[in-house]
Symmetry: C2
DNA sequence: TTGGCAATCTGTAACGTTTCAGTATATTGA
DNA sequence: TCAATATACTGAAACGTTACAGATTGCCAA
């Protein structure tokens, strides 16, 4: 049995959802005319156009997504591809809000496509492209040579990356200037008399790992400070690991007197490790950390923070994908967001 | 021009996505037979069935979502409806992961439907139902008398709520036992000699506000402790507000010596407020807090925590909606998760 | 032999949309 | 006056799927 049980031969007053046919019947026009009138096609008379649009608005006509999608291939969907193990909590929530903010008054829906450690990060992207499930894709955890970007570029599907690539290929991205962040963090620490600095890096392999390290290293030589290697740790690791390794490090006599940390969660662990070693934040060591919500100052007032907005990233990425879908040049859809000043405790 | 530019009259070797027609051509059968063979219809010969399924797997056939959706009305989508202002960060990320975990090996996609303060919470739900955009819906911030639940129940669209309602209507839900949480928190505090307790409540109006308050109040009288009213604060407020109000409260001579807090973010603010007033956690006052990630003990080791898993909530909610869609009785799809013990600092 | 029936398979129509190839009417140019 | 042309509209087909109502074949009972 068909799911429509009303007599549909001649549009009874049925309370079913209105379609083009309904509108055609009500206006006395053909469905073709109605379809074109709704999209302001030039070959439709001005009055007819207004009339159709009025009726459509009155009865709350909304195009059937499946109809459009089947006919045109346009899904009106953009997909956010997320790693279910390594994304930061605040990243997920803020970026989603940023994206939805932008697509709110468009016909687009946002679908979340997850993948896990065990999978090739290319899998979800391949799935989306092969099944034609989205008009545009947003990916994070971008690598200098990113197979996902290459793949989508080859297939011609619009996408935007959170973070840049370095393949000589041009595509939309939004990135935070992590070079500037690390650079300024070092300078700030130097200004407070710190000279032996350790860096808590982003995950090795991601593009912004390189940016961060470069900013850090360049600033070190500029201010004449030295690096205390801490390569065993990155922000992808568990709280416990980071804490333990930090405590180990801080018990050595050649310990650092300053940290630059790329993520708030890692910073909590760093601080815990510092305190495990019996040292005191602000006195024995200073820590500059990125954060995406205003929580670190509550945690320890001595922390020095730089803000990075993932909500902004979400908005920019959504704007970029929509722009590309809309025909803009990919190269014109690249944004870089500058870090805030280093903020000490204010009050 | 049609988006398909290949000569499609007689299935050339075109690298287009395979459809039922492709399969029909390859197997020499009719599309109807192929369609039925793929869904194990009984009137298809066993060998034919195997043959079709083999070929389908070989060439990686995947049903076209738009085709199915247009024909059957089934969207294979479930929607998570979120408030973009008030949801907790960790809630969003964990619940999404929980949901995707469950739908990973189903044909379902997850779409995120946001709404903001300015909107009626019913708006997004109405939109989903009117446009038939999802087969099932998950909502949070559930109220005792929830118009959204009532609305969806009337329209017969499967949904699950995070939190219970109290309208005498039966529907799937997942809830955390906040009565037990508040109750045990009070008992624990009493066990540590605390007798003047304040409650940092969930948002007034949500069902679990009542549960929490009841658990708190009942336990108070059972252990003979008293309540220090703190009604000006709930976990929906800003960090700054909570912090300020807590500091005010703690400067009064009739201040509490114990807090029960319903959310980790609020707890950070509470502690900050306590310390603003010059008091010390663990000595002057104890705080029991719910948390959804293991961060509070890093924050202040003296904090007493109870864990609530939003990932579990996401999974359970997804299971519930899918169950309802699959025809299970709504009443059989209700789960309540018990709080962990109160966990003091362990090392 | 014939009729009936079960077992398999098939063509057609429909879901709602857009595109293509028109048609009908009014308007213009010579 | 007649044809050419612009204007405003229209029906049919197609996207990929499933439901309905057959169609074909073989087999068995009468």
């Amino acid at each position: 049995m068909d799911r429509q049980r009303t007599d549909r031969n001649e549009e009874a007053s049925a309370q079913e959802r209105p379609t083009l046919k309904t509108l055609a019947f009500m206006t006395g026009l053909g469905v073709t005319t109605v379809s074109r009138a709704l999209k302001d096609a030039p070959e439709i008379g001005a009055e007819t156009r207004r009339r159709v649009q009025l009726v459509a608005k009155q009865i709350g006509y909304r195009p059937n997504r499946a109809g459009v999608r089947l006919r045109t291939g346009k899904t009106n969907v953009i997909s956010l591809v997320l790693n279910t193990e390594h994304e930061l909590m605040s990243f997920v929530s803020d970026i989603i809000y940023g994206v939805t903010e932008v697509i709110a008054d468009t016909p687009y829906h946002l679908i979340v496509t997850p993948y896990s450690r065990s999978q090739d990060p290319l899998d979800p992207v391949r799935y989306l492209v092969e099944t034609g499930s989205a008009d545009g894709v947003i990916i994070s955890r971008t690598q200098p040579n990113d197979p996902r970007a290459r793949y989508m570029l080859e297939r011609g599907i619009p996408f935007a990356t959170h973070g840049r690539t370095d393949m000589g290929l041009v595509h939309p991205y939004h990135d935070f200037d992590n070079y500037a962040f690390a650079n300024e963090a070092v300078r700030y620490l130097a200004g407070r008399g710190r000279s032996r600095l350790a860096l808590v890096t982003p995950p090795v392999g991601l593009t912004y790992y390189g940016h961060t390290v470069n900013g850090f290293v360049d600033a070190l030589s500029e201010v004449g400070a030295s690096e205390v290697p801490f390569n065993t740790v990155s922000i992808d690791q568990s709280i416990e690991q980071i804490r333990m390794r930090t405590a180990q490090l801080m018990r050595r006599k050649d310990r650092p007197d300053g940290f630059v940390s790329s993520a708030a969660a890692a910073t909590l662990a760093i601080v815990a490790g510092i305190e495990d070693a019996g040292l005191k934040l602000g006195r024995d060591v200073d820590v500059v950390s990125k954060q995406s919500s205003e929580l670190l100052h509550l945690f320890r007032r001595e922390l020095l923070v730089v803000n990075e907005s993932f909500r902004l990233a979400g908005s920019e990425l959504a704007r970029a994908v929509l722009g590309w879908i809309g025909g803009a040049a990919p190269g014109s859809l690249q944004t870089l967001s500058k870090p805030s000043e280093v903020l000490p405790y204010r009050g």
